[in-house]
């Protein structure tokens, strides 16, 4: 029958796209794992035990946590971006929307300025960045609550966005104040490093938290796919189809904040991945929320691991902050997508 064969072609096309995305991911990860090191990969099998030891340290001890952090941070930012773009039904929504970047930056600055001790395996700057991001997101949400007249859910989209922008400016000012008043002359540079984002401080302990946040976020995203697809036709129609808009939005805002806060705590402010990755995978899979979450995660992971590999190898031995690469590559790509749409 014509309908069935149409369906089969469609399904085949979709499988092909998944294969393409996964293939790209695997290739980029393999390249990032093996290239751009001061010693060649073949040293792992060298006869000289010293060279084997160096190669082992680089390829088996230093790189894996960083590679894993790249995947997890990229995936978390992209999933968070995909969720927020769906909630706000706005293509410009991104993970740092709810004051998360400014809150995280303030937290990290406070930890560095006051030389707070680390807590167990976690750096104080990571912990405070995580807490600051979550607190900022929560504050934005609380301030934006209860402004709905005719709509659905518990907040007005435009109001929440405006509050996010305003609170971000306020928290950034507080951060600048901390830096200015600090007697530590090196603080500005440390903060700068943090603001540009990078995976050099990747730790397995942080990766554990990230993996947990990503797991919770992805599970929530998948369990919201039916409702997210229905909201494409508007809040009112989705509500008439049985979707509880308020619950859906609260749930997704919460896990988005969790994922992006965990990413910020690990890698600082890496821009554009969370905005760009969902748009890129939409080219392949359209707007179907069932595919969008996982595809955005894989796309984001590929993007960030790739950019990190570039950041390491563009001007060795100098290592660029990966945030510079993501913005330099991301902005032209984004402009291209924006013009195309």
């Amino acid at each position: 029958m014509a309908v069935t064969s149409d369906k089969q072609t469609q399904r085949f096309g979709v499988s092909l796209r998944w294969l393409l995305l996964l293939g790209l991911f695997v290739v980029v990860v393999l390249l990032a794992a093996t290239l751009g090191a001061p010693v060649p990969l073949s040293d792992l099998w060298a006869s000289d035990t010293d060279r084997v030891a160096v190669a082992r340290q680089i390829f088996l001890q230093l790189r894996p946590p960083r590679l894993l952090a790249g995947m997890l941070v990229g995936a978390s930012l992209a999933t968070s971006g995909a969720a927020l773009q769906a909630v706000f039904r706005n293509p410009l929504a991104e993970p740092y929307l709810l004051g998360i970047s400014a809150g995280g930056a303030l937290g990290a600055t406070a930890a560095l300025a006051w030389h707070l001790p680390s807590f167990g395996v976690f750096e104080s700057s990571s912990l405070l960045a995580f807490a600051g991001s979550l607190a900022a997101a929560f504050l934005v949400y609380r301030l934006g609550q209860g402004r709905v007249l005719h709509g659905f859910g518990s907040f007005d989209r435009a109001t929440l966005l405006l509050i996010g922008v305003a609170l971000s400016a306020f928290l950034s000012a507080l951060m600048s104040l901390l830096v200015t008043l600090s007697p530590d002359a090196g603080l500005a540079q440390k903060i700068m490093f943090w603001l540009l984002g990078g995976l050099t401080l990747a730790r397995m302990s942080n990766n554990g938290i990230l993996a947990l946040a990503l797991g919770v976020g992805m599970a929530t995203m998948l369990a919201s796919a039916r409702d997210l697809n229905a909201t494409q036709v508007g809040d009112e129609e989705a509500a008439s189809l049985g979707v509880s808009i308020g619950t859906l939005h609260r749930r997704l805002l919460l896990v988005s904040a969790l994922m992006s806060s965990a990413a910020v705590a690990t890698a600082g402010l890496i821009g554009f991945v969370g905005l760009l990755a969902p748009h890129l995978v939409r080219l392949l899979f359209g707007n179907d929320a069932r595919a969008l979450g996982p595809a955005a995660a894989i796309g984001g992971a590929t993007l960030l691991v790739g950019c990190d590999a570039l950041a390491r190898s563009v001007a060795p031995p100098l290592e660029l902050p990966v945030g510079i690469i993501t913005a330099l590559l991301g902005v032209p790509l984004f402009l291209f997508l924006a013009k195309r749409a």
Partner: protein, 276 residues
């Protein structure tokens, strides 16, 4: 049986709909008519569960629809909305599958059974050939049929249509209303229509409610009881006469408005003297 009793509803403390009551049996078509802003859409929003009534009750087979879970309510009540906010990019088949939302698991993967229901809904509105077209590319009449198919895919017991004929030419107006009437018969749906065209309402409905400005019921009952010159002139402020339809005998309203007369904007003048 859909039973609306003494419903009062609105968006602030001032209600826009007062003390509204209506019973619609399965297979029956009820039409609500009245001027702009008389609370017609507010009524449908209450029945769909989008707006909480301030007083009164809405029950379906004795069960209060405001005590149902949203998903359970969406399995009983389907709305064909007046306007479209989004979803213009969606293929027709996907749009109709959204009607299965209240039945699908959270991840939203449809089963073969869901696909069968969508196929039947498309067949029922004669839209099978549109499956792969995008909703935004359809003409107004085609889109209303697709939206009707989505409502059918909800397998509801109550079907609400909010001004389904606005933006349609006369042929599609007739088409969508006769589809609604036939579906009410075939599926034993309780249908509530909100309409602007008095004569279409009089032609298709089994019972009518005429709302007056401010959201008060002016007349309710059979078509003959509601469509009277006195009722219509009182509510719309337009000189009218009511004549029986030459074929069906149902009452039809004809305007006696004198378009050439020099009257102020929106100021009706006295009715013209009888023509004969």
């Amino acid at each position: 049986m859909l039973k609306i009793e003494a419903l009062t509803a609105g968006y602030s403390s001032v209600p826009v709909l007062h003390d509204f009551s209506l019973e619609v049996a399965p297979g029956e078509v009820a039409a609500i008519i009245g001027p702009n802003g008389c609370g017609k859409s507010t009524l449908l929003r209450c029945v769909t569960g989008l707006l909480k009534p301030q007083a009164g009750s809405i029950t379906l087979e004795g069960q209060n629809i405001w005590q149902m879970e949203p998903r359970q309510r969406a399995q009983c009540v389907a709305l064909l909305p007046q306007s479209f906010e989004g979803g213009h990019d969606l293929p027709v088949e996907t749009m109709v599958m959204l009607g299965r939302t209240p039945y699908l698991p959270p991840y939203g993967a449809p089963t073969r059974q869901d696909q069968g229901i969508v196929d039947n809904a498309l067949k029922a509105v004669n839209a099978e050939t549109m499956r792969t077209r995008r909703v935004g590319e359809l003409s107004g009449g085609e889109r209303q049929r697709v939206m009707l198919a989505r409502a059918l895919a909800q397998q509801p017991r109550v079907l609400l249509l909010d001004e389904p004929t606005s933006h349609l030419d006369i042929r599609y107006q007739h088409e969508i209303l006769s589809l609604a009437w036939q579906l009410a018969q075939a599926e034993q749906l309780a249908v509530v229509l909100v309409l602007h065209q008095i004569n279409l309402a009089a032609a298709v409905a089994d019972k009518l409610v005429l709302l007056a400005e401010g959201g008060f019921i002016r007349a309710t009952g059979s078509v003959e009881q509601v469509i009277t010159e006195e009722n219509l002139e009182m509510v719309y402020g337009v000189p009218l006469r009511v004549v029986p339809h030459p074929r069906t005998g149902r009452p039809q309203a004809q305007s006696l408005w004198d378009f050439k007369a020099e009257v102020g904007p929106g100021q009706p003048r006295d009715p013209m003297p009888p023509l004969l």
